[in-house]
C-alpha cells in the first residue's frame, strides 16, 4: 500500500541542519492500521507529512499503490492527495469561512464530482457521524470533538486509499476522544488503511501495529497481538474499559 525507503528529512534552521527524520523504512499493507508513537520532537509529524507530500523529503523514496510518489511535483502531490490521501491534524482542520457542509463537500468537488454527488456523500457522512443538524454551522460554533469528527468526515469524503492522522485526539477530552476513535475503528473495520500519530498509548492500542520513533529513527515496530483484544470488542469498548 505505502512504502517508505530510507526516508530522511533535514531542516535547515539558521544555517544549522536539524535532522528530524533519519532514515525510516516502513511498509504499510492495505487495510492495516499503524500507530506511530514517540516523544515530542521525535519526528512523527515530519514523517507523516512526508508520506502525504505536505513536506518534501531530503532523501529516500515513497511508494504509494506501487507508484513512486516522492519524485512528484508540488501539484502532482496535490492531485495525488485529493484522490488517494486523507489528512486529519490536531488543530485547524476546517476552513473557517465555510460551513460544515461546505467543508465536507469540498474534497468531492475538488475531485471533480457533481454538486449533487458531493451533497449526497456529505449527507451520508454527516449522518454516520450524527452531525446532520450541524451541517449549516460554522466551524467556530462546534466543540473540539465535533470539529475533529467533521475533519474526519472530510478526510474520508473521497474514500481515500490512505488516511493519515497526526494526533487527531491530542486536543480532546476523553469523551470526545472516544467518539473520534469509535469512528476510526469503524472505518478501519471497513478496510480503511490508517497511519495515525499519537503519544497516547490507549489510542495506539487500537492499531494493528505500533511503530515507535525516537530522534527520527524507528526503535520498535511491534504488531499488537490480536488476543489482547476481547473477541468481538470494539475500539470504543477498549477505551471505555481503560479510560
Amino acid at each position: 500500500m505505502i512504502r517508505a525507503i530510507g526516508l530522511v528529512k533535514i531542516y535547515q534552521t539558521g544555517g544549522l541542519p536539524v535532522p528530524a527524520v533519519r532514515g525510516v523504512d516502513l511498509v504499510v499493507e492495505p487495510g492495516e492500521f499503524v500507530a506511530i508513537m514517540g516523544p515530542s520532537g521525535s519526528g512523527k509529524s515530519t514523517f507523516v507529512h512526508m508520506l502525504g507530500g505536505l513536506e518534501t523529503r531530503t532523501s529516500g523514496e515513497i511508494w504509494l499503490d506501487g507508484k513512486r510518489a516522492d519524485t512528484l511535483s508540488e501539484s502532482g502531490w496535490a492531485v495525488l492527495r485529493r484522490q488517494k490521501v486523507g489528512f486529519v491534524f490536531q488543530f485547524f482542520n476546517l476552513v473557517t469561512n465555510m460551513t460544515v457542509a461546505d467543508n465536507v463537500e469540498l474534497p468531492a468537488l475538488l475531485g471533480g464530482a457533481s454538486p449533487k454527488h458531493a451533497r449526497e456523500r456529505r449527507e451520508y457522512l454527516l449522518a454516520e457521524l450524527g452531525l446532520e443538524e450541524r451541517a449549516s454551522a460554522a466551524p467556530g460554533q462546534l466543540s473540539g470533538g465535533e470539529q475533529q469528527r467533521v475533519a474526519l468526515a472530510r478526510a474520508l469524503a473521497n474514500q481515500p486509499r490512505l488516511l493519515l492522522a497526526d494526533e487527531p485526539t491530542g486536543n480532546l477530552d476523553s469523551r470526545n476522544t472516544r467518539d473520534v476513535l469509535k469512528l476510526l475503528g469503524k472505518v478501519h473495520r471497513q478496510g480503511q488503511t490508517i497511519v495515525l500519530v499519537t503519544h497516547d498509548a490507549r489510542v495506539a492500542s487500537m492499531a494493528d501495529r505500533v511503530v515507535s520513533l525516537l530522534d527520527g529513527q524507528i526503535v520498535d515496530d511491534a504488531p499488537i497481538a490480536r488476543i489482547q483484544r476481547r473477541p468481538g470488542g470494539t475500539a470504543g469498548d477498549i477505551v471505555e474499559l481503560r479510560g
Binding site: H49, G52, L54, E55, E74, S75, A78, V79, L80, R81, R82, Q83, F87, F89, F91, F92, N93, L94, V95, T96, N97, M98, T99, D102, E105, L106, P107, L109, L110, G111, G112, P115, G140, R154, N171
Partner: protein
C-alpha cells in the same frame, strides 16, 4: 488535467469567503470605484476646461464646415453631398463696425431666426434670445462681449458700410461652437434678426451668405469641402472648418496635461495600494485556511487562481462601478459644466491602466497565498518568554507597560510594521504633494509677478497715438509704471515654425521678468527665454541665437531663463531697444504695473472709459482652478485609502495578538492597558508612517511640481512646498485619525473574552 477539475470547489470557496466578509469586500469595491470615479471626473473636467469646443459643438449641434458664398448657394446640392447630415442656413452676413468708447471695432452681423435653429444653434448664456417684437435686439457672442464689457441691456451702436449708425441693444450673450473665441477669432459676431440686418445693410450686394454643413463624421471634412467647392463652382469666397474654431478655443494645455498625468499616476498608485493592502491583509489572515485547502489537494496554481479571481473580480467590479459613477456624475451633477462625456482615449487609458494595476496588485499577494506550505500549523507566535520578561522589567521600573509592550511589538514584527508604515506613508505623501500643488496655485495668485504677471493690465492705443495712450494710462492713480511692449513672431533658422518674441521695457529699465536662472538682460542684444524656447531650440543660457524679425536679422545672447506661462514657454523676451526702430516704434502696447492692492478690474474699467483697449492678464491659477477640485477629491480618496490600510493592519496585528492577549491578561493587565498596548503597537508605526510620508511629500512636492513646470515649458521655479501651517494641520489631522482608527479594533479586542487555545 490538473486545471479544469475542481473549479466548482474553487467557486465554492470564493463564495464562502466573500459571504464571510461582505463589508470588507464592499469597501474594496468602493475604494476602487472611488478612485476610478475621481479619475474620470478629473479627466472629463480637464478635457472640457482645456478644450471647450467639444462641449459647445456637441450641445449646439454645430456645423463642421462653413461656406461663405456671394449669393445664396444651391442648398439641395449641398445637402446631397455624401456625409452631410444637416444644413444650417444659408444665413446672410454683413460686415459692420461697432463704436466702443470712441474707437471702431469691426464686427460681423449674422442673420438668424427668432426660433433657435436646430443645427448650429447658439447657446444662450445670459439675457434673452432674439424676439420679433424687439427688432433692435442683438445677441452677442460671449467672448467678444466680455472683451468689450458688454452686458444684456448695453447699447450696441452699429455703423453699416453706408455710414449710417443704428443704436441697437444687447438682448443676450451666447456661446457657439461655430465661432471661435475673440480676439483669436475676428471679427466679433452678433446675431440679429433678418429685418435688423436689412436695416443696417440694405444693399444686397454687400452681404454674403454663410451656410453650415453638419457631417456624419468629422473625418469627412476635407472631402466634403472639396466637393462643396466643386459643386458651388466659383461662388465660394471662403471656407472655414471646425478645426480652426477648435484651435482658437484651445488653451496651451501642456501643463494641464502633465498635471492630469501626475494625478492619474497618484490615483493608480492609490488603487494599487488599496488593493494590495486589502488582498494582502486578507491573504495573511487566512494563510492557515489556505494551508488546509492545500492539504486537501488544492494545487498552488489553484490557490493563486482562486485568490486572483476573488480579489480581481472585486477590483474589476470597482472599476466598472467607477466608470458608471464617473459618467453619472459628469452627466448629472456637472451637467452645467460638462456636456460631452470623456473622449475614448483617456477613458480607455484610465480603464486599462486601473485594470492592469488591479491585476498586478492582486496577483502578488495571491501568489504569496499560493506559495503557502500545506501544513496548517499554529501562527509563528513571538517568543513568549521574552514578552513576559520585558513586561516584568517594565512593571519593575514603573514604565507604562502598554508603551513598552506596544513599542516592542513594532520591532518584533518587521513585516507587518513595514506594511502598516508604507500603507500609511504613501497616501500621506501623496496628500502632501497635493497640498504642495495647492500652495503653488495660491502662490500664482498671491504673487503674480513671480509667474511673469507683474503687470496686471496691458493697454493698446487703438485709435489713439501711443503717447496719448501712455499719458491717459499714467494719469490713473493706480498705475505705477508702464512698460512699452511689442510682440512679434520671429523666424529662427532650421525651424519650420515661428517663435514668439516679446520686447518689453528697455534694456536699461527692463520689465520685472521673474528670472529663475542666470540674470536679467541689461544691454541691447541680450535676452531672456522661457524653458519651452530653450528646449525647442536646444539652447542654453549663454548661447547666441540668430533670427529674423519682420525681415530684419537680429542676434541676441540669452542671459537668463524666466518663468514663462504663455505659449508653453516658447517665448523670447528682450528690451524694446534691441529691436530695429521700425519694429519698435510706436509700441504696440504698454504693460501696466499697478499699485499693490489695486483692483485690476476697476482700473481696467476706468481706462476703458478713457477709450483705451485694455487686456487683463489671466492668472495661470485661474485656468488651473479645476485642479483644486481634483486635489480635494484625491485627498479625500487617499485619506480613506490610508485609513482602510490602517484598519487592515490593525486587524492583522490583532490576529497575531490573539495568543498574546491571553498572556497579557493573565499577567494582570487591565482591559484598558491591553487596549493601550494594542493602540501603541499599530499607532506608533502608523504615526511614524504619517510623519515620514508627510515629510517626504513636503520634500518632494517642490521638486515634483518644478519637474512638471519644466516639462510643460513654463520652467522650473514655480513649485512650492505646502505652507508650514497646512503641513502641520494635515499631520495633526492624520495622526488623530490614525489613533482613532487604531482604537476601534483595539477596544473590541480588549473587551473580548480571549480563548486560551488558538481556536
Amino acid at each position: 488535467m490538473i486545471t479544469g477539475v475542481g473549479v466548482r470547489a474553487e467557486v465554492r470557496w470564493v463564495r464562502a469567503d466573500l459571504r464571510a466578509r461582505r463589508g470588507q469586500a464592499l469597501l474594496t469595491v468602493i475604494a476602487v470605484a472611488g478612485i476610478v470615479t475621481a479619475l474620470i471626473t478629473a479627466a472629463t473636467l480637464l478635457e472640457d476646461g482645456t478644450n471647450p469646443w467639444r462641449g459647445l459643438f456637441e450641445r449646439g449641434r454645430g456645423a463642421h464646415v462653413w461656406i461663405h458664398t456671394k449669393g445664396a448657394p444651391n442648398v439641395p446640392a449641398l445637402r446631397a453631398l455624401g456625409g452631410v447630415t444637416d444644413v444650417a442656413g444659408p444665413y446672410r452676413s454683413a460686415p459692420a463696425t461697432l463704436a466702443d468708447h470712441g474707437r471702431k471695432v469691426p464686427i460681423a452681423l449674422q442673420e438668424t431666426t427668432a426660433a433657435l435653429p436646430s443645427v448650429a444653434r447658439p447657446l444662450l448664456r445670459e439675457g434673452r434670445w432674439l424676439d420679433v417684437r424687439h427688432p433692435d435686439g442683438v445677441v452677442v457672442e460671449q467672448s467678444f462681449a466680455k472683451a468689450l464689457g458688454l452686458h444684456p441691456g448695453s447699447p450696441f451702436p452699429v455703423t453699416g458700410l453706408n455710414g449710417a449708425t443704428h443704436t441697437l441693444t444687447v438682448a443676450g450673450l451666447a456661446e457657439s461652437g461655430d465661432q471661435g473665441f475673440y480676439p483669436e477669432w475676428t471679427p466679433g459676431l452678433a446675431w440679429t434678426l433678418s429685418s435688423t440686418l436689412t436695416m443696417v445693410e440694405p444693399a444686397p450686394g454687400r452681404t454674403e451668405s454663410v451656410t453650415g454643413l453638419r457631417l456624419a463624421d468629422a473625418g469627412y471634412t476635407d472631402i466634403v469641402v472639396q466637393q462643396a467647392v466643386i459643386t458651388l463652382r466659383n461662388q465660394v469666397q471662403r471656407v472655414s472648418t471646425w478645426r480652426e474654431v477648435r484651435a482658437s478655443m484651445e488653451l496651451d494645455n501642456r501643463l494641464l496635461g502633465l498635471l492630469l498625468a501626475l494625478f492619474g499616476l497618484a490615483g493608480l498608485v492609490a488603487a494599487a495600494l488599496a488593493l494590495a493592502n486589502a488582498t494582502g491583509g486578507r491573504v495573511l489572515t487566512q494563510l492557515r485556511d489556505i494551508a488546509t485547502l492545500k492539504s486537501l489537494g488544492f494545487t498552488r496554481e489553484q490557490v493563486t487562481r482562486m485568490l486572483v479571481a476573488e480579489h480581481g473580480t472585486l477590483g474589476l467590479l470597482g472599476i466598472a462601478l467607477g466608470l458608471v459613477a464617473g459618467r453619472v456624475i459628469t452627466a448629472y451633477a456637472l451637467s452645467d459644466t460638462v456636456v460631452v462625456p470623456l473622449s475614448s482615449g483617456p477613458l480607455v487609458a484610465i480603464t486599462a491602466g486601473t485594470a492592469l494595476v488591479v491585476l498586478v496588485a492582486v496577483w502578488l499577494p495571491a501568489w504569496r497565498g499560493g506559495a503557502t506550505p500545506p501544513i496548517p500549523a499554529a501562527p509563528a507566535a513571538p517568543p513568549h518568554g521574552r514578552l513576559s520578561r520585558l513586561a516584568r522589567v517594565a512593571l519593575l521600573v514603573r514604565l507604562p507597560p502598554a508603551l513598552v509592550l506596544g513599542a516592542r511589538d513594532a520591532f518584533t514584527r518587521p513585516t507587518s510594521a513595514i506594511l502598516t508604515l508604507t500603507g500609511v506613508a504613501i497616501p500621506m505623501m501623496m496628500i502632501t504633494i497635493g497640498l504642495g500643488c495647492w500652495a503653488t496655485l495660491d502662490g500664482f495668485i498671491r504673487h503674480p509677478e513671480q509667474v511673469g504677471q507683474a503687470a496686471a493690465l496691458s493697454v493698446r492705443p487703438g485709435d489713439l497715438t501711443a503717447s496719448e495712450a501712455l499719458g491717459r494710462a499714467m494719469a490713473d492713480p493706480d498705475v505705477v509704471t508702464a512698460y512699452p511692449g511689442v510682440e512679434l513672431d520671429a523666424l529662427v533658422p532650421w525651424q519650420t515654425r515661428t517663435v514668439r518674441t516679446r520686447a518689453l521695457g528697455l534694456s536699461s529699465d527692463p520689465y520685472p521678468f521673474p528670472v529663475a536662472e542666470g540674470r536679467m538682460f541689461r544691454d541691447r542684444g541680450e535676452a531672456v527665454a522661457g524653458q519651452g524656447l530653450l528646449d525647442l531650440l536646444g539652447l542654453r543660457i549663454g548661447d547666441r541665437v540668430r533670427m529674423t524679425i519682420g525681415g530684419t536679422p537680429l542676434i541676441v545672447k540669452i542671459v537668463g531663463r524666466v518663468i514663462e506661462p504663455e505659449q508653453d514657454g516658447e517665448v523670447l523676451s528682450f528690451g524694446v531697444d534691441s529691436l530695429a526702430a521700425k519694429d519698435a516704434t510706436p509700441p504696440q502696447f504698454y504693460s501696466l504695473v499697478l499699485r499693490p492692492g489695486a483692483d485690476a478690474g476697476e482700473v481696467r474699467a476706468r481706462l476703458q472709459a478713457q477709450a483705451l483697449e485694455v487686456d487683463q492678464a489671466v492668472n495661470p491659477a485661474d485656468r488651473l482652478s479645476v485642479i483644486r477640485v481634483i486635489i480635494v477629491a484625491l485627498v479625500v480618496v487617499l485619506a480613506l485609502i490610508g485609513l482602510a490600510n490602517l484598519l487592515t493592519a490593525s486587524a492583522l496585528g490583532l490576529r497575531d495578538h490573539l495568543l498574546d492577549l491571553a498572556v497579557l491578561k493573565a499577567m494582570g493587565l487591565t482591559p484598558r492597558q491591553v487596549m493601550a498596548t494594542l493602540v501603541t503597537g499599530t499607532g506608533l508605526v502608523a504615526m511614524a508612517g504619517v510623519v515620514l510620508g508627510g515629510s517626504a511629500g513636503a520634500f518632494l512636492s517642490k521638486g515634483l511640481i518644478d519637474l512638471e513646470g519644466r516639462g510643460s515649458g513654463v520652467g522650473a521655479g514655480i513649485g512650492r512646498a505646502p505652507t508650514p501651517g497646512m503641513l502641520a494641520g494635515a499631520l495633526l489631522v492624520a495622526i488623530g485619525a490614525t489613533l482613532l482608527v487604531a482604537l476601534i479594533p483595539a477596544r473590541r479586542a480588549a473587551r473580548a473574552r480571549v480563548p486560551v487555545t488558538a481556536r
